[in-house]
Amino acid sequence: MTSLTLVRRIRARPSIVFDALVTAEGIAQWWGPDAGPVLIAEADARIGGRFKVRFRLLDGTEHESTGEYLEIAKPERVKMTWRWTYGGADPGESLIEMSLRPVAEGTELTFTHSRLQDEESSRSHEAGWSGALDKLEAIFARGAAGPSR
């Protein structure tokens, strides 16, 4: 299973971070890879509710993604499906999970985007994938594969 995990420590209490993650007002402030604007932000944060986010990049292209909330446990966890619905190829449905843990300075947010690989082919390989990204990085640690942060 192809997945990506990012961890952030945020100087705000979990309930505030949680609201920023699942309210339309919050999403409009942060969603997107560059400083381009969020054009549409809708979020119905309950199990079975949907979200929709459309943003414009600085290069002028627009992209939209939508999904369904699978789990809402304030202020600890959000799980939702995710899919590109505008502005590029659709690689199928993937899964986002956000976990919040209170720490001294505020909140530790663990963000995981999984099932990034095409679902049809990933189903049969799910068990073996975990950790493969790390291995991949290790294999290329020496090479000029790209930036390391």
């Binding site: 971070v17 942060w30 947010l109 990034l116 690989q117 390989h125």
Partner: protein, 117 residues
């Protein structure tokens, strides 16, 4: 094969720990390795290694060249670079988003504290 199919093949080939170990071994050895070199660290028989090599070959991750009775296996880094780049695009997307999320939540926290005074 389009990009999505190529990525599927690459990721499928990488799901197996023996195949990942073979790739890591090849990465260390610029001159390539023989099939028996590759089989040595693994507790599996030669035919099983050959099967793994077939899968890696189909995914374009290695090349094999034969000289006499010796087959030399070399790493073909392009498909893995492509797979890494594809994952990195998502990483950049979320990394930038979460940086702004943090700024926003921290501003909200500051507001909440001010409001309490």
């Amino acid at each position: 094969m389009n990009q999505s199919e190529r990525l599927d093949r690459t990721f499928a080939a990488l799901t197996d720990p023996t195949r990942r170990a073979i790739l890591a071994q090849l990465e260390r050895d610029d001159d390539g390795a023989t099939v028996s070199d590759l089989a040595r660290p693994h507790a599996i028989k030669l035919p099983a290694v050959m099967k793994h090599l077939d899968i890696l070959d189909d995914a374009g991750l290695i090349t094999r060249s034969k000289s006499g009775r010796t087959v030399t296996v070399r790493l073909q880094p392009k498909p893995m670079r492509e797979a890494m780049e594809w994952l990195r695009r998502y990483e950049r997307f979320w990394s930038a988003s979460l940086d702004r999320l943090a700024l926003y939540a921290e501003a909200k926290e500051a507001e909440a504290r001010k409001g309490r005074k």
